[in-house]
């Protein structure tokens, strides 16, 4: 019995250590004082300052549109690859599977600089498209693994049953496969969206000064000691959004 208490204390202690910094940042975003050490009163002025910043808005919109496009594209391409892998046999498909692991093993910085080199040598202008491509090439792998796990739970007999009942392959896709795979598709979109939205390193090497992105903004401010209090407000909002996405993801992944 005593050991149980020790375990519980250890766990609670660790959880507190984990949440304390986040908690403090959230509180600080409502603090009228710039300094962590003093509490001057509740205020929303940092949030207002945030919303008034053009730089923040531009970065946010850019990151958002890219994340959305990347999520849709990588999920779409990922599901075709996952489905093909599951319904096919042969050495070439095992090779494909291994090829999908590489984006996850390769260090992100190495991948990022290779992209920069590639676009430079191909004379492509840096901007929306290069960032999009950089994110998506990586995200396809994540979408693939998420979808592969879930799709493999759908027996081929279910598709065959639909065919025999008179459904043409297109109908099988839209009436049977997609509805059953929908939770996995949502889960994949959430995870690829998050990966893209939060991405820093690949973004730095695939963008240009005229195309700001939110993580780069945060990095510039937070890492270079140019942090302003509205950063805490931004952080709080993003934390709230992340936690919502996290719950949605958990909901979809464990729907069965």
């Amino acid at each position: 019995m005593k050991t149980r208490i020790i375990w519980t204390i250890y766990t609670i202690a660790l959880l507190s250590f984990l949440y304390l910094p986040i908690f403090m940042m959230v509180i600080q975003s409502f603090n009228d004082s710039k300094y962590l050490t003093e509490w001057k009163g509740f205020t929303l002025k940092w949030y207002i300052k945030l919303f008034e910043s053009n730089e923040v808005w531009a970065s946010f919109m850019n990151s958002f549109t890219i994340a959305l496009a990347s999520a849709l594209t990588s999920t779409f391409l990922g599901i075709t690859l996952a489905y093909t892998y599951i319904r096919s046999k042969g050495k070439i498909y095992d090779f494909l599977d291994i090829a999908m692991y590489t984006p996850i093993i390769i260090p992100e910085i190495a991948e990022a600089v290779s992209l920069a080199l590639f676009f430079y040598l191909s004379n492509i202008n840096f901007g929306w498209y290069t960032v999009f491509i950089g994110h998506t090439a990586f995200n396809i792998a994540f979408a693939y693994f998420t979808l592969k796990a879930q799709l493999s739970l759908i027996s081929k007999n279910v598709e065959d049953a639909a065919l025999i009942l008179g459904a043409k392959p297109i109908k099988v896709l839209f009436s049977i496969l997609l509805p059953i795979a929908m939770p996995a598709i949502f889960a994949s979109m959430i995870i690829t969206f998050t990966l893209s939205f939060d991405d820093l390193i690949k973004s730095v090497f695939t963008t240009e000064p005229g195309f700001p992105l939110l993580p780069i903004l945060i990095w510039t401010r937070a890492a270079r000691a140019r942090a302003t209090p509205d950063l805490n407000a931004l952080a709080t909002i993003m934390i709230a959004i992340s936690l919502c996405l996290a719950s949605l993801y958990t909901y979809y992944m464990y729907k069965r």
Partner: protein, 253 residues
Amino acid sequence: MLSSLKILTIISITFLFVFFYIPLIEMFIYSLKSENPIENYVSILKNPLYIRIIGYSLLISFLTTIISLIISYPIAYYLAFIINEKFKSIILIAFIAPFWVNFLLRTYALYNVLYMIGIINNFIALLIGMVYDYYPYMLLSIYAALSKISKSILDASYLFGATPFQRFTKIILPLSMPGIIAGSIFVSLTTMTEFVVPSMLGGVEGYTVGYLIWDLFLKYRNWFKGSALSIIIISIALIISLFYSRKAKVVLI
């Protein structure tokens, strides 16, 4: 429709090949560009400063992996075997949730707290930050392995007269090995080139090989050398993952 699927598959593979594999191949070719093809590699490997930075990064990676393992294993054990069933999902989600918050923000939040405490811009702060940001991977990995251990094996060990200590060392620990290995591979690979956290929290002591590559490209504009160093790092990553996979026959995901 089967033909549409084939076309889409080919498009997907082409996309991956053109925008992921070809850049890497190009980088490899670029790293060989000079009078003597391996000159870039030689100059890196002969440079004591570079070697020290690479070694330093590997050290950080190693320590982060070990510390994450030591901290996460008890939590995973608690979640798998000790915790009251009612609380299991809540506590598990509680440990994983911060994982979804932007990496930079988490580190920035930690920065503020560490700044307040006074442990900042040094190696300790760096290490705390690395563990703070990377332990979830280790935790999830070990928990997954532990939760697969069937209760009947544990019950059987009681029948054979095993003490709790023996039960741990002879049954639970070996069976959790795949999880430990998978978690270790993932954490060591990703922390090997991590530089955001070290630079934010470690100050001068936070200069790692990731930042070196960054600088070679953006600051010193020596793309040849940068490419060579990247290839070196990629090779180390591939060797580590191959080594671990062979040893444990583990699939990463």
